[in-house]
């Protein structure tokens, strides 16, 4: 999607992830007897045909409300969930084109940092083992070198190496976030997926962790997919922003352009709702309604029930992600020339 394919470190093509709950016998039976359609399997389209390409060294922000599939997409990329459909290319190769060795290298190169460090760190393990286990298991270091290696990684993320024998509960929230980052860095990844990694932190600690991310990005030439619902944070650190709504990408744009001139009505709504420092009570113009259930997504454009510009066409036809400028894509029927309403430049 961006530039030429050869430049992309990671490329997603039509990636979908569906979670299916099969109807049980009782449901099928009642459906047959009563004749209503409830006997069908329940399908959640968590991620619905997402195309995305991420270049080396890029920081991409992935933004959306809870339930929009942003975390699922992150998990598909890291290989925690297999995708239901679509092709993922790592350095130009799909998984089936890779040798076993290459596949292994890809898994190591893509690492994830989770939202809640307390539930992603083993409470019964010392920090030394949490950070040192993976590189040892993958043969990146020898057993004798664990201590010096762990100390080096801890220093890199701003943790005092003398704390390496401590357990996760002995650390503060900000330090735990750093342990999570250190664990991901320990296997020398190229690509990091950060799933709401700063959401649970206090503002002053959040600033420290964000600064750490930016430092690491420069020092280690890392590529980031930064998943967050906090547009303020995303605006600060990302080069490019991807907005998701109910499993679909609705807008992709370079950060500055997106915040200057959002194109999709949903993006516009989101931007107007970021809390900004203000010196007087401000007016809130909330987007109406809530994100619909992904079990029964609206037809056509998923956003049409909440969209102030919805037309008849939006109810039936799914808008495709179209290029609307250099490096800018948006999935909205309003961008088609004949549908442009007055005042929506």
């Amino acid at each position: 999607m961006t530039a030429s394919k050869s430049e992309a470190l990671l490329e997603l093509q039509g990636i979908s992830k569906r979670f299916v709950q099969r109807a049980d016998v009782a449901e099928k039976l009642t459906a047959k007897l009563t004749g209503n359609g409830k006997g069908a399997d329940r399908v959640v389209h968590a991620v619905d045909h997402v195309d995305l390409a991420i270049r080396r060294g890029e920081v991409v922000g992935l933004v959306g409300e809870s339930g929009c599939g942003k975390s699922t997409l992150g998990r598909v990329i890291t290989g925690i969930h297999p995708s239901t459909e679509g092709v993922m290319r790592w350095k130009g190769k799909t998984e089936s084109e890779m040798t076993g060795e290459e596949r292994h290298a890809m898994r190591l190169a893509v690492q994830m940092i989770f939202q809640d460090p307390m539930s992603s760190l083993n409470p019964r393990k010392q920090v030394r083992d949490i950070i040192g286990e993976a590189p040892l298991a993958h043969g990146l270091i020898k057993k004798d070198d664990i201590d010096s290696y762990v100390e080096q990684v801890m220093q890199r993320v701003g943790l005092d190496p003398t704390y390496k024998m401590r357990y996760p509960h002995q650390f503060s929230g900000g330090q735990r976030a750093r342990i999570g980052i250190a664990r991901a860095l320990a296997v020398q990844p190229e690509f990091l997926v950060c799933d709401e990694s700063v959401a649970a932190l206090d503002v002053s600690i959040q600033a420290q962790v964000i600064n750490l991310f930016m430092k690491l990005c420069h020092e280690l030439n890392l590529t980031f997919l930064f998943i967050s619902h906090d547009l303020g944070v995303v605006q600060h650190i990302s080069d490019r922003v991807v907005i998701m709504y109910l499993g679909r990408v609705v807008e992709v744009a370079p950060t500055e352009e997106l915040f200057k001139a959002p194109n999709h009505p949903y993006t516009k709504g989101l931007l107007s709702e970021i809390p900004r420092i203000a010196t007087q009570p401000r007016e809130f113009v909330p987007i109406k309604g809530e994100i619909p259930s992904p079990l029964h997504p609206p037809s056509g454009c998923h956003f049409h029930p909440r969209c102030p510009y919805a037309m008849d066409r939006c109810k039936t036809e799914r808008p495709v992600l179209k290029q609307i400028g250099t490096n800018r894509w948006s999935a909205c029927h309003l961008n088609d020339a004949d549908n442009k309403p007055a005042g929506n430049a």
Binding site: V203, A207, H236, T279, Q280
Partner: protein, 343 residues
């Protein structure tokens, strides 16, 4: 908006709420003075562990052992109550005040709503606990209130259970329940922290509208200074159990005088040039059981001197603007600051 022109509703003087633990006494709230006028919206801002939630619980007298209010007074000038000190009120009296004069909205509505009772049962119970009214009247009132907080088709939703609501809707139910008896004061403890920005904006909008309409005073406890700056009339910033700065929003936000407030605002990403390192406050919030001597912020403060080993007293720096600091920030880089702040 001026405290002096409006009648006083709540006056807290040197309130101290301490917790006795095996590791020593945790001074969660240590000498807080606060006033609140009728119908005023106060934002109580602080990071985790600053004692802001304990403040809210203290006013509600919901502090359990090992916590206790060891000193100070909470004067409540409610309707039909005369100069009442909540610290000394009997538990019977508090029970009558809670829910009718003072109500609280908690962070997690799943914890404050009973999962096995329908919404109507819970709301009617809240009304009948304080007023002798028929089921029919109470039910109608509950329905109207649900409609006011923006719940579609309230008549049907009354019969739903909490788990049938989404997070945002649940919080609306909690807010509706809190407003049922037209309280004079609502304490909201981070009610939108767990919600999406879109839902958060909707709820802020509803709450502010309702408070303005009914003249209810509101204490909004939050860690998000950006959020509260657009909602509140006045702001109080807490650090390590003390209020370090308080004043009208436009004064505090436009020109913070306490180094901590300034640092807090500096670390908000949208207040920083994009892509540049964020300004950060070094170190971390101190443990409340082992506070530094004197000013608790001194070890993290670049303006700290030897004087800061004593406890600074609250001193006025402007009309209604008070700060607890020996070396408050004096000059305002006026133009540059105003450029950054988007009103």
């Amino acid at each position: 908006m001026n405290t002096s022109t409006r009648s006083l509703l709540l006056e807290i003087n040197s309130l101290q709420t301490w917790f006795d633990t095996r590791a020593g006494t945790v001074k969660a709230v240590d000498g807080v003075d606060l006033t609140l006028a009728r119908g005023e919206i106060l934002g109580l801002v602080g990071e985790s562990g600053s004692g802001k939630s304990v403040m809210g619980y203290s006013i509600m007298r919901l502090i359990d052992l090992p916590g206790r209010i060891v000193g100070g007074s909470i004067k409540f000038y409610g309707e039909g109550t005369q100069n009442e000190d909540l610290v000394n009120a009997t538990s019977d009296r508090m029970r009558r005040l809670r829910g009718s004069h003072i109500a609280m909205i908690f962070q997690d509505p799943m914890m404050s709503l009973n999962p096995v009772l329908r919404i109507d049962t819970q709301m009617i119970e809240a009304i009948q606990a304080h007023a002798k009214v028929s089921n029919k009247v109470a039910r109608d009132r509950a329905r109207d209130m649900l409609g006011k907080v923006g719940i579609p088709s309230p008549e049907e939703r009354l019969q739903a259970y909490p788990h049938q609501f989404s997070g945002g809707m649940r919080q609306r139910v909690a807010i509706a329940t809190a407003m049922l008896n037209k309280p004079e004061l609502i304490i909201a403890d981070e009610p939108t922290t767990a919600l999406d920005v879109t839902v958060q904006a909707q709820i802020l909008y509803e709450v502010r509208k309702l408070c303005r309409e009914s003249g209810t005073a509101l204490i909004w406890i939050t860690h998000d200074i950006a959020l509260i700056s657009g909602l509140a009339d006045r702001i109080a910033v807490m650090y390590a159990g003390r209020v370090v700065e308080t004043g009208l929003v436009r004064d505090v936000i436009a020109a913070p005088r306490h180094p901590y407030t300034a640092g807090l605002m500096g670390s908000v990403p949208s207040n920083n040039p994009r892509g540049k390192p964020l300004r950060q406050i070094p170190g971390m919030t101190p443990s409340l059981s082992n506070l530094p001597k004197g000013c608790a912020f001194a070890p993290r403060c670049e303006r700290a001197t030897v004087t800061c080993q004593q406890v600074p007293q609250e001193s006025p720096v402007g009309a209604e603007h008070k700060v607890r600091c020996f070396h408050p920030i004096e000059s305002i880089p006026a133009q540059s600051r105003h450029d950054r702040i988007k009103v």
